[in-house]
């Protein structure tokens, strides 16, 4: 499972995407994905907010993840 990273999330992880390896436990929901990423990268847990987009739409914690989904981590936005 690949997670696209932007802004400060990209700086924290040190790459524009993060792959959860196939022999690791696959997160089945948005909540599990956030849990796993904030455990692997504690700095992500210190951000003002952390959202997840599934197929380029904001996704609530309960949304289930499919292997073909495009998944992105959305740190606090600051356009304008």
């Amino acid at each position: 499972m690949e997670v696209l990273l932007f802004g400060i999330a990209k700086d924290i992880v040190g790459s524009s995407s993060y792959t959860i390896s196939e022999n690791a436990v696959m997160p089945i929901s948005v909540a599990e994905l956030k849990q796993q990423l904030t455990t692997d990268f504690p700095e992500l847990g210190k951000l003002s907010s952390l959202a997840v987009a599934v197929n380029s739409e904001y996704a609530e914690d309960g949304v289930l993840l499919q292997s073909q989904d495009e998944i992105a981590l959305i740190p606090p936005v600051s356009g304008g």
């Binding site: 932007f6 400060i8 304008g80």
Partner: protein, 140 residues
């Protein structure tokens, strides 16, 4: 037919285009907001701002905002255009605007466009100072 809604992410933003885009025979009012790079933030001198985006999602979110505005107010045209890349002091980074028969609708809509963009569109801004850089709003 000319598009009623224009949403775009661009490398170079030219605010002078927007009048022509919003101009319409049924619009007696055109309201535009341009956001630009300010030199000082909390007494610290900014050298430049760097913008990045999740483009596919940003376009989707910008389209939703433009469509919501069209539903809420009686607008003839809406433009939302944001720049990405490194922008220097005084350079424009975002242009939003609306046109309508009378001024009230486009004034109110214009504020909604920029305020909602700042809340929901996946665009990130890094302030580049002389000796450091900071992602805006990232941490409490």
């Amino acid at each position: 037919m000319v598009d009623k809604i224009i949403v775009e992410i661009v490398d170079e933003l030219d605010p002078s285009e927007v009048y022509q885009e919003l101009s319409d025979p049924n619009s007696g009012g055109i309201c535009v907001f341009v956001g630009a790079v300010r030199e000082f933030t909390q007494n610290e001198q900014v050298m430049a701002l760097e913008f990045e985006t999740y483009q596919g999602m940003a376009i989707k979110e910008m389209s939703k905002i433009a469509q919501d505005a069209m539903k809420k107010w009686d607008l003839n045209k809406v433009v939302i255009r944001h720049a990405v890349g490194e922008k220097g002091v005084e350079e424009p980074v975002v242009v939003v605007g609306a046109s309508s028969a009378h001024r009230d609708a486009c004034f109110t809509a214009c504020r909604f466009l920029i305020d909602t963009l700042k809340e929901t569109v996946p665009i990130w801004k890094k302030e580049m100072f002389k000796n450091k850089s900071v992602w805006v709003s990232a941490t409490p």
